[in-house]
């Protein structure tokens, strides 16, 4: 049981390049999330999905795109990378809040992206 798997772990991009961060989970979770973590800023939600074919914006979606064609996968696309996108990106998944509201997230190990 791998949980949430993110690739790559590290990547250096040049300004203007594009790339996709991959995220896959094997827990049959309906909900998936992308957060970015910047020092002193905590985690900010980029995009999330409540099921295959459904995505929605979070707090900081500009410069990113997502898709959710399967339950397992939730890739994050960076178009025209900028230095402001230098960050650590975390993918997470959950069963969702359900009736109780206990939306417990399982996180991947993170992808560290540097844009130069």
């Amino acid at each position: 049981n791998a949980g949430v798997t993110q690739t790559p772990k590290f990547r250096i991009l040049k300004i203007g390049q594009s790339m996709t961060l991959q995220c896959t989970q094997d827990m049959n979770h309906n909900y998936m999330y992308w957060y970015r973590q910047d020092p002193g800023m905590g985690l900010k939600l980029i995009y999330y999905s409540v099921g295959a074919g459904i995505t929605d914006k979070g707090e900081v979606p500009n410069g990113y795109n997502v898709s959710r064609s399967t339950t397992e996968d939730f890739p994050l696309r960076l178009e025209l990378a900028a230095p402001s996108q230098t960050s650590v990106y975390f993918c997470a998944s959950s069963y969702g809040p359900g009736v109780s509201g206990a939306n417990v997230l399982t996180f991947g190990a993170g992808s560290r992206l540097t844009v130069l």
Partner: protein, 110 residues
């Protein structure tokens, strides 16, 4: 709108002493509150949650948290700190989407 605040960037405590990491929340409606821990170069791990019921919530690794509605607080506590508890701790709130605080670094000295 909902938000959580962690007023301390860092908390220092000696091993064996009790520890408290503070969190206050601003939530409309029922507060769904969580604590997560992050060890170096790792993702966040769930510690505990408050949904409803008892104000004292017990979680993993001996941690507990006290929900206080009048003070809108959800402080993380542990009676006796371990050096291995040193990590970054995040308070969070939310239903479908979790909003995280800025994190508090806990340093436990031997």
């Amino acid at each position: 709108a909902q938000s959580v605040a962690q007023p301390e960037d860092q908390v220092n405590v000696a091993e064996g002493n009790p520890l408290t990491v503070k969190c206050t929340y601003s939530v409309s409606g029922n507060p769904y509150l969580f604590w997560y821990v992050q060890y170096p170069n790792r993702g966040l791990q769930f510690l505990l949650k408050y949904i409803t019921g008892d104000n004292l919530v017990k979680g993993s690794y001996g941690f507990e948290a006290e929900f206080n509605k009048s003070q809108t607080s959800f402080h993380l506590k542990k009676p006796s700190a371990l050096v291995s508890d040193s990590a970054l701790y995040f308070c969070a709130s939310g239903f479908q989407k979790l909003v995280f605080g800025t994190g508090t670094r806990l340093l436990v000295s031997p």
